[in-house]
């Protein structure tokens, strides 16, 4: 009959009105500044630089200033200057480090390509979204001091991903150690090979 559809519609809205007072599923609003949202693990917005320790972030940056991210970045918001000297990285190996590492967040489009191309697991996506500033230019240009955050923070925001990265890095370190050991073993056995060049046919 004419009008039954109207009554059905009115019933739906009445159900929502009454339900919003007792059913949390009908009032999902979070009152933001007081109630902070529970962000999903995969949420990302802007990149940050991973350092091994929280005490000395500049000394333990994983970044070796290879500039791959700078070249791959589609909107070209990353600027890197290599250091002239080298210093030991977390594994104790002598590496170049970024003397200047700047990201212009007004240009960054949060595509995560820098993260995907980084061979050193040194740049990752952050979850800080309250990034409004009071001026147009200066505060949007993040320096390496502002970008550096410890690995423990990375574990906090992306636990699964961070655990996987740590496992991979540990495996690499293990492989490097094994290789070094093998090389050392080979070196210790080195005096013998030059002694028997005549029999070296099968070694080649």
């Amino acid at each position: 009959m004419l009008g039954t559809g109207l009554l059905q519609g009115l019933a739906v809205t009445a159900k929502n009105l009454v339900g919003s007072f007792h059913d949390p599923a009908r009032l999902p609003t979070l009152e933001y500044p007081e109630v902070q949202p529970q962000l999903p693990e995969a949420y990302r917005n802007f990149p940050f630089l991973v350092s091994e320790s929280a005490e000395d972030p500049m000394g333990t940056l994983r970044c070796v200033a290879c500039q791959i991210c700078e070249k791959e970045c589609p909107p070209q918001c990353i600027y890197i200057e290599k250091s002239k000297d080298k210093k030991p990285d977390a594994a104790g190996k002598q590496q170049i480090f970024p003397a200047v590492f700047v990201i212009d967040t007004s240009v960054c489009m949060s595509c995560q390509i820098c993260v995907e191309v980084c061979p050193f697991e040194s740049i990752k996506m952050d979850q800080v979204f309250a990034i409004a500033t009071t001026e147009r230019f200066g505060s949007l240009l993040l320096t390496r001091e502002q970008l550096a955050k410890p690995n423990s923070y990375y574990h906090q925001i992306h636990p699964t991903e961070a655990a996987e990265v740590d496992r991979r890095l540990a495996a690499d370190r293990q492989a490097a150690e094994d290789k070094a050991k093998a090389a050392a073993a080979a070196k210790s056995a080195a005096p013998t090979p030059p002694a028997k060049p005549a029999t070296g046919g099968p070694a080649a």
Binding site: G3, S20, E31
Partner: protein, 403 residues
Amino acid sequence: MTPAAVPPDRWLELAPLQLRDWVTGFLPASLQWLATGLITIVAILAVFGLLFAYLTLAERKILGRIQNRPGPNRTGWFGLLQPFADGVKALTKEDVVPRQADPVLHYLAPVVLVALSLLGFAVIPFGRHLVAVELDAAVLYFFAAGAATELAIFMAGWASRNKYALLAAMRALAQLISYELPLLLAFVPVVMLAGTLSTTAIVAAQGGWTLGVLPHWFVLTPWGFAGFVIFMIAALAESNRSPFDLPEAESELIAGHLTEYSGFKYALFFMAEYFGMCALCGMAVTLFLGGWQAPCAALECIPSYAWFGAKLLTLLLGFIWIRATLPRLRMDQLTRLAWKFLVPLALINLGTAAFWSLTAGWTGGLQLVRWAVALALVAGPFVLLGRRLSRGVAPRVYRYASS
């Protein structure tokens, strides 16, 4: 109703009048009539101004809840200061007038609109003794004043010199002409049965109770119910409320006749819209819901103006509920609903009311026959006309979207 049947007034009933007389008592006798009039105007402005302010808040809160969000709740306790924050914002905003607009008409339109929409309050009896002006042709005056508001809307649309504003103004006029007829036809049965055009006499005609609990309101008769529903639908259209808010259809007309208005003039348009809505709902209460009469004899101790207020708020909340539910009509659907559905039903309702008034003497078993015939006269045309009009139109078939 004989004067002897009127129960003695309690002091709350007379309190507003005594307060007014106490204030005017300080003035010389020659000025008292003027002061009485001014106090009445100020009281109406204050009460309905506050009602407007809190109605906007209630509307936003209820719309929010219906859309599963809390609504404004930051300004003051539970957002109770929100209307005043809105008022300050509207007052401090820049008032932009287009260079091409007619400055006088552009300025005058909101003022005239508010003034005209306030006129209706003069004849509504808010309580047993609370009516600003007692006119013999009060109902006629009310609808004449109400129809004049559309003139101000057209003024706004014309003076803005904006295509959207002008289109909206023309739509508003078409809507007015379409819905003025069912609105007027819907209250004619009330005038027939009450035998008067005076609002106080119409309310008095609805006094008394059967067995002390069943009020003699017109809405509780078959013709009264049909008239009430037609009246409310037409009132929705007259006050430009959703689902009949075509004159300010955002998706097509930006903001309709409000497009070129900003700041406090914009707020005045909203004020006029809500005043018009309150006045029409107040008239519906007076004509069909027994005005200030209590729903049963035992509840008469509550002052009459409280009952009027409660009924008025119920109707206004119903308007908000409908706004939250129904989508906007198309222009052709709007006029079709008025001319092909509401006007015939209102005309048939005249016949039903005539039958009801002619059979007033029937008693006993004939009373049942009277109710059955009247109900059939109301329900039959509704079902038949509805079926005929929705043939080929409803239920709607979606060719490209699957359900």
